[in-house]
Point group: C2
Chain length 340, copies 2
Amino acid sequence: MDNEEGAKLIDVAKLAECSPATVSRVLNGNPTVNRGVRERVIRAAAELRYVPNGSARALRSTRTRLVGAIIPTLDHAIYATMVDALQARLAEKGVSLILNTSTYDIDLEYEQAKLLVERGAEAVLLVGAEHRPQTLAMLEQKRVAYVFTYTSTATDAGAAVGFDNEKAGRAAARYLLDLGHTRLGMIAGITQDNDRAKGRRDGFLRELAKAGIDAASVPVAEGAYKIENGRSSMKMLMASSPRPTAVFCGSDILAAGAIKYCVEAGLAVPKDISIIGFDNLEIAVLTAPELTTLEVPARDMGRLAADYILASPLQRRHLRERELPISLVVRGSTGPGRAN
Amino acid sequence: MDNEEGAKLIDVAKLAECSPATVSRVLNGNPTVNRGVRERVIRAAAELRYVPNGSARALRSTRTRLVGAIIPTLDHAIYATMVDALQARLAEKGVSLILNTSTYDIDLEYEQAKLLVERGAEAVLLVGAEHRPQTLAMLEQKRVAYVFTYTSTATDAGAAVGFDNEKAGRAAARYLLDLGHTRLGMIAGITQDNDRAKGRRDGFLRELAKAGIDAASVPVAEGAYKIENGRSSMKMLMASSPRPTAVFCGSDILAAGAIKYCVEAGLAVPKDISIIGFDNLEIAVLTAPELTTLEVPARDMGRLAADYILASPLQRRHLRERELPISLVVRGSTGPGRAN
DNA sequence: CTGTTAGCGCATTCAT
DNA sequence: ATGAATGCGCTAACAG
């Protein structure tokens, strides 16, 4: 009965010659326990290699110290980085993270949210603001806090830590317009069920429209975030007429593919064609020329989402709807548009 | 008492006019329940929006359907990809993944493993074979299965799904040697507490030694997996004399930085200097020239580790120690060494 | 400051 | 095929 499967709290109590309740108090950092007893308990627990049973704890206390996150994929570095920061911050406070990837499928997201609720997640991180209504309804009914990331619009019940994708799209357009470009194109991510990609595209087109450039005249390609899709999309755009002199890509990955195509096709970047990316991934410095891009604060979003989750319900009121700045990182892939 | 916080199993039983035991049977797919009753239960559960309490279930049944993974960091795409595959496979079977990043710190890894055991993880995925003895001892004592990845050496109690890093290092050396290079260098990852990085380095040096090249004459730089470290390490290597004509990098990230330095310094790749990477990340095609590299089967490791975890204890015996092949992907960054 | 009592929600005996 | 009873391991009241 010593080196069996595992000692329980009551075994610790016996060895420390006190009641289970006292052991529980020590374990939970309750300060109203005498030094001497506390030390005996700690020693007994160590001796028995006692590991608390989280399920029992959770059942009794209704606190699981479990948080969930549902992201589209870990294959995109921007999400991986956000999760990395989220996890690090949560771990500091002894909170564990259950991770799910939805592969951009909001129906699958619903299933995963349900499982998270079952597991007792006390809060859930979601990406974007576009979700099945029943997903949010369930979270709300079960009193599970949720935070949107990559967006700055919260709901009544949820918070948001992110940025305004529409504004970001407009910023890209404005920058290119200011450089004198008048023939623009875009390689967006896949916009279906994806408010971030849609927001960026719409913002981009809207700003162009304000400058008198009809959206219908702006070629927009769509592709999953793969270098190869950036390449093939760029090829398409360059075949449209009149040919764009500047292209906004919904991700640095796409932009890298786009530049790759230009190199192959003998198009000079930025002389013949300006390319601006999105994310500011580490790889933005690998292309030649290096990528001008809009920086997404992935790590900050992860950390701040964690802060929101870790905050008390009271503090949370002050943390809802946190809009982070998007900054333009100018490198070599953009240049002046030629006068028409 | 209807749209309160949440219905419990007993509420479902009442509405379905049966006993809690029967509801439990239906929920767990026990086939010994009459069609009619089963359907009533299912309807009642749906109507009440019943969500089972995982903690209670786990406490009672000692099955949590929770699995843990401790990886060094999500900032390295190779781990992110592995976790992505792992999670996808586990999710198919309704198993949730608790993710922790150890930042390459095996003491922190121990703490995280302990927390995973507390949470009731039924299995844990670990990276590499180098861990604190107490980490594995704890897992074994608590009967938590574990799988090593990125290595092919299992322990008595644990499994391994991965490849032989030493062999991979030797393969890189052999390839460069066969190209005729005699002055070699290496940019390794950080080898402290890291058997993968060490294995690659040692294998590389050993193969060179076999070819009569003294390890002491081979400059080896170390750096975390950042482009900038690849750049600065390459600068150092190029300053050593005699200058290497071929460099093996412990990651494509380092290799990309190394190429970056060469471009800046006016060194032609592969004419003046051959560079071989490791991982075959998506970015391997972004450098100019594209990277010759050894491909790490990240996605396969995640999927196969999941298969191991999901297998029954019996089946597991057949799945221990799975060595996956490492393949060389030849692109443009390597070329023949000049005759001395 | 510490012990006693009770029960969290469910799955599992054991009956029937 | 179904129901009644029991207790998983722990923490929260409440005493003392």
